[in-house]
């Protein structure tokens, strides 16, 4: 089997692994194994992409208007009452709190954007083709992300690097302080709230960095 033949069948075997002949080519050919490694690396990195941006508030305003017009919500004493969004967010946090530690962990990871659980649950079985799966733990991934974010800022707007670095340090200090407090008293719900907010702040920093399209 030559490279052209291998690459012809690659779309079909990259997820599931190939037959012995294809595997043999892959083992013996640096070009094809590098290609497979790159493609797999792209797919793996894509799994870690984060839902980072919230929609503008006008989206909810539009939905609310339509709900009222369509009569999908039950009127209370003549007028529809929507609770302020803060309360909705708070109660959202409360029910996370009431849930398992897993849910809390998921939310925290979500906050810095690592959809870690998803990787381990719904993904295709590990393919037989050489795989380069990032084995880093979420915490290490976060350090890595920090470095990448600063790199990105340096590339796009060098003048702002110092600001971003300084604020990254202060938000990480916030996270550390909240964590330390939770270790001291796991039942301190106020400290849990601070931790979630600290992650929200960190997400903001990342979003702002991303928004610098520069050029």
């Amino acid at each position: 089997m030559n490279c052209a033949e291998f690459q012809e069948v690659l779309p079909d075997i990259i997820e599931s692994g190939g037959n012995p002949e294809e595997e043999a080519h892959l083992k013996s050919c640096a070009v094809c194994s590098d290609l497979v490694q790159d493609l797999r690396y792209i797919a793996d990195t894509a799994k870690l992409l984060l839902p980072m941006r919230d929609p503008s508030p006008r989206v909810w305003t539009g939905i609310r208007g339509a709900l009222q017009r369509e009569g999908l919500v039950r009127p209370l004493a003549g007028t529809v009452r929507f609770r302020p969004q803060a309360a909705a967010v708070l109660s959202q946090r409360r029910w996370v709190r009431g849930g398992s530690m897993l849910a809390v962990a998921a939310l925290l990871l979500f906050a810095i954007g690592i959809i870690w659980l998803r990787n381990n649950s719904t993904r295709q079985p590990q393919p037989a083709v050489t795989a380069r799966v990032p084995a880093a733990a979420p915490a290490a991934a976060a350090d890595d992300d920090d470095a990448q974010m600063l790199n990105f800022v340096q590339h796009k707007s060098p003048a702002l690097l110092a600001t971003y670095r300084e604020n990254l340090e202060s938000v990480n200090a916030y996270i550390r302080d909240a964590r330390r407090r939770i270790e001291q008293d796991p039942n301190d719900m106020g400290a849990h709230d601070h931790l979630i907010r600290a992650y929200d702040e960190k997400a903001l920093l990342y979003e702002m960095a991303m928004a610098r399209s520069g050029e």
Binding site: S56, P84, G190, E201
Partner: protein
């Protein structure tokens, strides 16, 4: 005039010439659009101020002033959405990259501004505002019945005279100042920034002021009707506003670290939370 020395005359002429030169480099462009109710206007400006003003009528007027030929301004209308964006024709920073925007919009329009260096100002609006800038100073006043979302990294944020607002402010290092801001929901989150609130917390709403290490200062009149709680986990709290003790506060009260109570009918919920900062509540 006759007594003026030659030296002064010369420098006056020089100043005049400089002004002409500076004026010539500036390029002022005006864009006008007519929009239906509920229009949305988005301004993206990498460097320089953006000023938003609400007005009667259905016109959007964008006045953009560039200071070099290295940048240009693109405006377009897509149905009821207007976009104004600064484009770089060549890579530049400093004064050359700066564009000044003055934007007049129908007061019911929803406006999104992204201006990393700012400053950003918005006034006389009834539509939703989303304002973002890294180091931008943000100033919003005279806004009613609207969502006001502001996010900065280090820029200070000041809001004044906001009625019936859904206010959401997030900043890492910016100081936040709220004067006469009320509504069903007001939330402020900062890391190192300080938070000052001066006002009466309206008549029923949820107020949440949170930071890591800055100070939180609240000044309110005796007439304020609040259900207020304050807690700094490792910092301190001070209160000289008369509150009635609550039977069942949401958390255990620790002297010097937390307090909670109500005044009048306790219409608005006010939560002040710091991890290590100092929280002070004062009567006006």
């Amino acid at each position: 005039m006759g007594r003026m020395s030659n030296g002064v005359k010369c420098s006056l002429v020089a100043v005049g010439l400089l002004a002409v030169a500076a004026f010539a480099a500036d390029n002022r462009k005006e864009f006008r659009y007519t929009v239906a109710p509920g229009a949305s206007v988005t301004v993206t400006n990498e460097s320089g101020p953006v000023e938003i003003k609400g007005s009667a009528g259905r016109q959007v007027v964008i006045i953009a002033t560039t200071h070099s030929d290295k940048v240009e301004v693109d405006c377009d209308q897509n149905r009821n959405r207007i976009h104004a964006t600064t484009h770089f024709l060549q890579r530049t920073d400093g004064p050359d990259s700066r564009v000044d925007y003055q934007v007049l919009v129908p007061s019911d329009a929803s406006v999104t501004v992204r201006a990393p260096s700012g400053p950003i100002t918005a006034e006389k609006m009834r539509g939703d505002l989303t304002l973002e800038g890294d180091a931008a100073q943000v100033d919003v006043h005279d806004v009613s019945n609207a969502h006001v979302h502001v996010r900065t990294i280090s820029g200070p944020i000041s809001l004044g005279n906001i009625a019936n607002g859904h206010v959401e402010i997030t900043s890492l290092n910016g100081d936040v100042r709220l004067d006469a801001v009320s509504g069903p929901r007001v939330s402020v989150n900062t890391v190192k920034g300080s938070i000052r609130y001066n006002g009466d917390f309206g008549e029923g709403g949820e107020y949440l002021l949170v930071n890591h290490s800055g100070n939180i200062d609240v000044t309110l009149p005796a007439s304020a009707s609040v259900d207020l709680s304050a807690r700094s986990i490792t910092g301190s709290v001070e209160n000289d506003f008369p509150l009635q003790q609550k039977q069942h506060p949401a958390f255990a009260i620790t002297q010097g670290r937390s307090f909670a109570g109500t005044s009048n009918s306790g219409a608005s919920s006010v939560q002040l939370r710091s991890l290590s900062g100092k929280i002070r509540v004062k009567k006006r």
